[in-house]
């Protein structure tokens, strides 16, 4: 902060609402795209792991290593390869969602009771029909729980991408990084506050979706 500067300059915020809204939009893009791509990849990996249990170990080992790499390092390593493009932010963000999503989707599939599977077989469902009509719907609550974690994680990590990517990726992290570079607290505090609001709102939204699709969990005595 420069001497004599106010901590929060409200008139700056008022003058830059357009720019702020654009940053929020970019951040949503940096969240929804990787979570959607990550979900599709994780779904394929999970179905594979459920049909061939032997591959589950290697899949979680590899996605676990990806998850373990600190975010700043992951974003930095791709810049010289994929350049300053959206892909450089998307690859690490997708890779961070994989472990979370594979675990929850597999747990969802494995949670389907064997009697239910047998009943489906007895009704003459083929394996694919059973997967789509029986196993998938029953696994949805666990999938939503995984999506909740993956979304919140992506919102947090997307802020870090701006440290390396600058304005290529944009998002709320860009407000933070620019604010830090120009010693302008209004900008970095606003970026930080908005990213917190976005993360907490996404978390609350998914909790509501979870409750809405699992009405039985709200039965008296099992409130959680």
């Amino acid at each position: 902060m420069l001497p004599g500067q106010q901590l929060i300059d409200f008139s700056w915020i008022g003058d830059h609402l357009g720019q702020i809204a654009e940053r929020i939009g970019q951040h949503l893009e940096l969240t929804i795209l990787p979570v959607a791509i990550g979900f599709l990849i994780a779904l394929v990996l999970s179905i594979w792991a459920v049909r061939q249990p032997i591959v589950y170990g290697p899949i979680t080992a590899v996605t676990g290593v990806l998850y373990t790499i600190p975010s700043l390092a992951a974003f930095a390593v791709l810049i010289p390869i994929t350049g300053l493009s959206l892909v450089s932010a998307l690859i690490p963000l997708v890779s961070y969602t994989l472990l979370i999503l594979v675990r929850s989707i597999v747990a969802g599939f494995r949670g389907v009771a064997p009697e239910v599977l047998e009943a489906a077989e007895g009704m003459g469902y083929t394996r694919t029909q059973r997967l789509i009509r029986v196993e998938f719907p029953l696994a949805v609550p666990m999938m939503i729980a995984g999506l909740r974690l993956a979304t919140v994680t992506a919102i947090g990590l997307a802020t870090v991408a701006s440290i390396i990517g600058g304005d290529t990726f944009g998002g709320l992290g860009q407000l933070i990084t620019e604010g830090l570079q120009t010693f302008f607290p209004t900008k970095y505090l606003l970026g930080a506050a908005l990213s917190v609001v976005l993360a907490v709102s996404a978390d609350v939204l998914f909790v509501q979706i979870e409750r809405w699709i699992t009405p039985w969990a709200r039965a008296p005595g099992s409130a959680g």
Binding site: G64, L72, A73, A74, A76, V77, L99, M142, V152, T177
Partner: protein
């Protein structure tokens, strides 16, 4: 790739305050201190709400919100306050350390609570019937049975802390993140950038493997799963696990 090897072979990069040993020491010592403080806060609270069940819903809800908060945001929100406290350290050590500690508390607290709760309530009742007092039940029954789960929480917290320490370089902190940030802001130093990436990722993955082995070792043989969780962070039955990594 050759330039990265040369960077590692250059003796100048192994000495002084900007050398690998000192940067590694800064990274590990700040991370260790943050984990220690977080454990001193998170463990007792987790044990208390786990054992008594009191305030559990409120505390876990707050902790889960804490886990959702982006680490980069925590780091800079602390900045104006830490600059007030100390103009000298306010821009590097203090915000990084505070952010790391704040972010490490929720995973430790939540898994400690979950670990204690998972202990069979019939066992606890049996212990009570045998005349054990509450602290004895906690110390001799609940904590030993919950330890593998609690170590899982420390794994998550360790990853979080190592990653946040790396971002700390952006606000002028030391540690291995310096190599990445300096290497990036100076395009003539790509080798330094890559070396930083290798060092940080190596530290995180190495520590995670060590903690995974410890976790496996202290888990009773009968409860050990297949080796599938070996390289992944602590597996949790609860979906409340590990959001918002740095």
């Amino acid at each position: 790739m050759d330039s990265v090897v040369n960077w590692f072979l250059d003796p100048l990069n192994w000495q002084g305050s900007a050398g690998i040993p000192n940067r590694l020491f800064e990274h590990v010592s700040l991370s260790g201190a943050a984990l220690l403080v977080a454990a001193l806060i998170g463990l007792p609270i987790g044990l208390f709400i786990g054992h008594t069940g009191r305030f559990a819903t409120a505390v876990i809800n707050i902790a889960n919100i804490g886990r959702a908060i982006p680490s980069y945001a925590v780091l800079v929100i602390i900045l104006p306050v830490s600059l007030q406290i100390s103009p000298e350290y306010g821009l590097n050590v203090i915000p990084t350390f505070l952010a790391m500690t704040l972010l490490a508390i929720p995973p430790i607290l939540v898994t400690t609570y979950a670990g204690i709760r998972e202990v069979d309530r019939d066992l606890v009742e049996a212990a009570r019937g045998m005349g054990l007092r509450e602290p004895q039940i906690l110390g001799r029954l609940e904590i030993p049975l919950a330890t593998p789960v609690i170590v899982g929480g420390f794994r998550t917290a360790t990853l979080q802390v190592i990653a946040t320490a790396t971002i700390g370089a952006v606000v002028g902190g030391g540690g291995l993140g310096r190599f990445i940030v300096d290497g990036f802001s100076n395009p003539s130093l790509p080798a330094q950038l890559y070396a930083g990436v290798i060092l940080v990722a190596g530290l995180a993955i190495g520590l995670d493997i060590v903690l995974a082995l410890i976790q496996r070792r202290i888990t009773p043989r009968a409860l050990r799963g297949p080796l599938d969780r070996w390289a992944g962070p602590a597996e949790q039955a609860s979906p409340a696990d590990s959001p918002g990594m740095g």
